[in-house]
């Protein structure tokens, strides 16, 4: 654990940029996004949260998964070459933690998705601890911490005279060779401790209902009321660091005499999209907006934990900030928590009064 000055860190970063593609928060026409940077001074250090999560660099919004060539009755398939090693720089702990969830869904759950797995192996994460959460950040409510280095290779903490630099993994140690340290021998802060001490700074704090509590409220009228104002766009899923739904289609890219070149593309898809489940024959098991919106929340808090043993939400707050009609995940969680409490209350009353009829909710 060392400290370093801003100048030294920038020098080190410029060095990294010379050796690897470095992806960092950058303002693109004023919009903070993770983009490849050409120099250390392009990094938007003050950006706590980019509009889109950095998952896009491991699981791109669209990518070629197969190059297909049809030539005179013969077909050859080839996989696109690897993008090689890259560095995600100034990634925040919530976004890094989200990659762990994507690992669970896309890699650990057999068979692995080779495209994501390969990029994941080849990426190094240089984290930047958060000092002050945004109003809608709630990582601590989902079990994260704004300064958790757990998912990083290198962790940076902003301090008054520069940065505290922690090599978290061996890969991190080797990345850090060449960094000029101002002082050495600092003890690493206990993971989460700094966040814990700042817990009060979080304006959004929610208790996330346990997965087991969700099924009982699947048919609650709440979801239809919530969906009334949902526009059915895909912002929440596309900005989300843990959403991973995709679509696959072929695209003919070129043709000549006796030869056709095809790319098989995969691109992000969203369970909010009207056509998401609509089958070729027209059958759609989820035709209502309310069903689709509900699926998003159940996926995050029931399906992903149950099927993949991972968390479906890291509390980055992006969907809250980006939703044009203020469908607020933290508010939804609070509502569900209330439903859960009400149900517990009702069940106790039912036990007390054996004659009471159970209320049957209307199925959507």
């Amino acid at each position: 654990m060392v400290t370093t000055t801003r100048e030294s860190l920038w020098g080190w970063l410029d060095n990294l940029i010379a050796r690897y593609p470095v992806i960092a928060p950058r303002r693109v026409e004023g919009v903070p996004l993770f983009r490849r940077i050409a120099a250390a001074d392009e990094v938007a250090w003050d950006v706590l949260r980019t509009v889109v999560s950095p998952k896009a660099w491991l699981f791109p919004d669209s990518e070629v998964i197969l190059e297909i060539e049809k030539r005179a009755g013969d077909v050859t398939l080839s996989e696109p070459p690897s993008a090689g090693e890259q560095i995600l720089f100034a990634i925040r702990p919530c976004d890094a933690r989200a990659l762990r969830s994507l690992d669970a869904m896309l890699v650990d759950h057999s068979p692995p998705d080779v495209y994501f797995a390969r990029r994941r192996r080849q990426v190094a994460l240089v984290g930047l601890a958060c000092r002050q959460p945004l109003v809608d950040c709630f990582c601590t409510s989902t079990g994260g911490a704004p300064d958790d280095p757990g998912d990083m290779d290198v962790m940076l903490y902003e301090i008054d005279k520069g940065y505290l630099v922690q090599a978290v993994t061996e890969r991190g140690t080797s990345l850090l060779s060449g960094l000029t340290a101002a002082e050495t021998g600092h003890a690493p802060p206990a993971p989460g401790s700094r966040g814990e001490s700042r817990r009060m700074a979080f304006q959004t704090q929610v208790s996330v209902p346990e997965p087991a509590a969700w099924p009982a409220h699947f048919d609650d009228a709440y979801w239809a009321r919530l969906a009334d104002r949902c526009l059915g766009c895909r912002i929440c899923t596309y900005v989300c660091p843990t959403c991973r739904c995709f679509d696959v289609r072929d695209y003919v890219t070129g043709a000549g005499p006796g030869i056709v070149q095809i790319q098989r593309l995969r691109a992000w898809d969203a369970c909010l999209a009207e056509t998401y489940r609509r089958a070729a024959g027209g059958h759609d098991p989820r035709p209502l907006k309310a069903q689709r919106l509900r699926n998003r929340f159940y996926c995050k808090f029931l399906y992903v934990p149950e099927d993949f043993g991972a968390i479906g939400c890291v509390g980055c707050g992006r969907c809250i900030a980006a939703c044009p009609v203020n469908i607020d995940l933290s508010e939804v969680l609070a509502e569900v928590a209330q439903m859960v409490a009400r149900r517990q209350q009702e069940q106790m009353e039912v036990f007390a009064l054996p004659q009471t009829e159970g209320k049957v909710s209307e199925r959507m």
């Binding site: 098989r264 369970c271 989820r286």
Partner: protein, 278 residues
């Protein structure tokens, strides 16, 4: 060098046969390339993605059994872009095959039991592998009742094989169509009506249902009326899917994925789904 396997990369196969099965429905026979043939070890109930390169791929239930032929067989109705592209293809052309995927019918558990097979339209295609398994190991299973339905006579599939099915010992084929044409002399009505007429005994019996969601729903209700319990009722579900390996997120019914937890489910499991399949 170890072979890097990519579950999204199809095997290449050659279309060896394309046969008309019914109006707008064709049977596609595919032989995989030598190198990949042995990787493709499948069981009744499983499915695979077929690629029409340049258009895309879609999942289809395997309608064949591996011991009868090295040809993989798929019965496909022309409904969307991929199926239309497949329908335009001719023997000799190359397709991609990704699979086998999903779970299978527990054929061993059915041994010693009577089996009622209920197939509706093109949805009945995966049941052909069940029927062939039972016919080829006839002594292992009890009585076989095949209830085979279609909207109209021209949509009945595997008509060429009815004689084989009928000729098998202790096997009965019951056909029905929703709408008869002039030449139809058989039963007219929904498969549920046929089922009530045939009225199989639930005693030591397994019922297997494949078909469109509405048919599955009402057939299951009729079976309940006939005193079947959900544990005795097996079904395969279909859903739009893009990966078949639990990644693309598209085919979930609540927390169950049709692609990895299915496509074969017991009725008990389906009733436990958070979401309705219809």
């Amino acid at each position: 060098m170890t072979k890097v396997s990519n579950p999204m990369k199809p095997y290449l196969g050659t279309l060896t046969g394309v046969k008309d099965l019914a109006s707008g429905i064709k049977l596609f026979q595919v032989v995989l390339d030598d190198a990949t043939r042995e990787c493709f070890d499948y069981a009744p109930g499983q499915f695979a993605f077929l690629s029409a390169f340049g258009v895309g791929e879609a999942p289809f239930g395997l309608a064949s059994v591996p011991w009868r032929s090295e040809e993989l067989e798929f019965a496909i109705m022309e409904v969307g872009t991929v199926t239309s592209a497949l329908h335009r293809m001719e023997p000799g052309e190359i397709v991609g095959v990704r699979g086998p995927l999903g779970n299978c019918f527990p054929m061993d558990e059915f041994k010693g039991k009577h089996v009622v097979v209920l197939g509706g339209g093109i949805g009945g295609a995966p049941l052909r592998s069940v029927i062939q398994t039972i016919l080829d190991r006839r002594a292992d299973y009890g009585r076989l009742d095949i209830l085979w339905a279609a909207r109209e006579p021209s949509l009945l599939i595997f008509t060429d094989e009815y004689d084989e099915w009928r000729a098998a010992p202790d096997t009965a084929l019951h056909l029905t169509v929703d709408l008869a044409d002039g030449n139809w002399t058989g039963h007219v009505g929904l498969i549920t009506q046929l089922l009530e007429k045939v009225s199989p005994s639930p005693e030591n019996t397994i019922a297997i249902i494949c078909g469109p969601p509405m048919m599955i729903k009402f057939t299951a209700l009729t079976l309940l009326k006939l005193d079947f319990v959900p544990e005795q009722m097996i079904m395969t579900l279909e859903a739009k899917m893009k990966c078949g390996i639990g990644k693309c997120g598209r085919c979930n019914m609540g927390d169950r994925f049709v692609c990895i937890h299915g496509p074969v489910f017991t009725c008990t499991e389906v009733y436990d789904f958070l979401e309705s399949v219809v």
